[in-house]
Amino acid sequence: MSISLKLRYFAALRDQVGREEEILELPVNTPEELYAALQQRYGLTLEPASLRVAVNDCFVPMDSPLAQGDQVVFIPPVAGG
C-alpha cells in the first residue's frame, strides 16, 4: 500500500535530487525501503550505511515504521565545526 510522505533534502542529497522538498506516494514501510526507492528514482550515490534518518524532526532507526503523512529527512554525513 502506498503512503504519502513529505521529503526534505539537504546538502549533497538536495543537489542530487534537484529540489528542497517534495511529497511522494510510495509503497514503502521503512526509511530503508524509502531510500532504496529514492536511489532508484534519482540515482543517489550516497550509500545507505552513511546516512541517518529523521522522521518528524526526530532521529529514528532506518528500519522504523513509516506512517501516512510523515516528514522524512535523510541526513548525509554531517560536517559542522
Binding site: 546538502a11 550509500e47 552513511s50 529527512v73 541526513i75 554525513p77 559542522g80
Partner: protein
Amino acid sequence: MFQLSDQPLDITALRRQMQHPQAGAFASFEGWVRNHNEGRAVFRLAYEAYAELGQKEGEAILEEARQRFDIIDAACVHRVGALEIGDSAVWVGVAAAHRDAAFAACRYIIDEVKARVPIWKNETYPEGDSGWINAEYRATED
C-alpha cells in the same frame, strides 16, 4: 543555549553571558574557516543546517555536558550561510568552578556537535568548483 546563527558571532557578548559569580574558570573553543582542506586551497565556504533537528540535537548535547561535568553554564553557537576565510564558524563556551570540568565539557561539546548536529559544509575552491565535505570526498570524519 544552543543557536544556529546567520550573523557573525559576537564573541565578546557570548563570553559575557558565561560570567557567573560562582565561576572560577571559563574555557572556550572557536572553529575558524581555514584556507585549505584535504590538500586543496579553499576560497570560501557555506554551512547549511537542518534547523529544526539541529536545534534539538544541539540543546541535547549541552544538557548532556551539564549532566556529565561539574559545570555552571555552557553555550554553543554555529554559523550557517556563507563564510569567508578567517570567520568564526562555531563557538563553544563553558563556565565552571574549576578548570578541569570547563576544559572537559568544552571538548565534549565541540566533538559531539561535529559528529551529531545536522550541519553540512560546502567548500568552494579557487578553480570554481565546490563540494560537500564528507559526502563526496571522504566517508570518515576528521
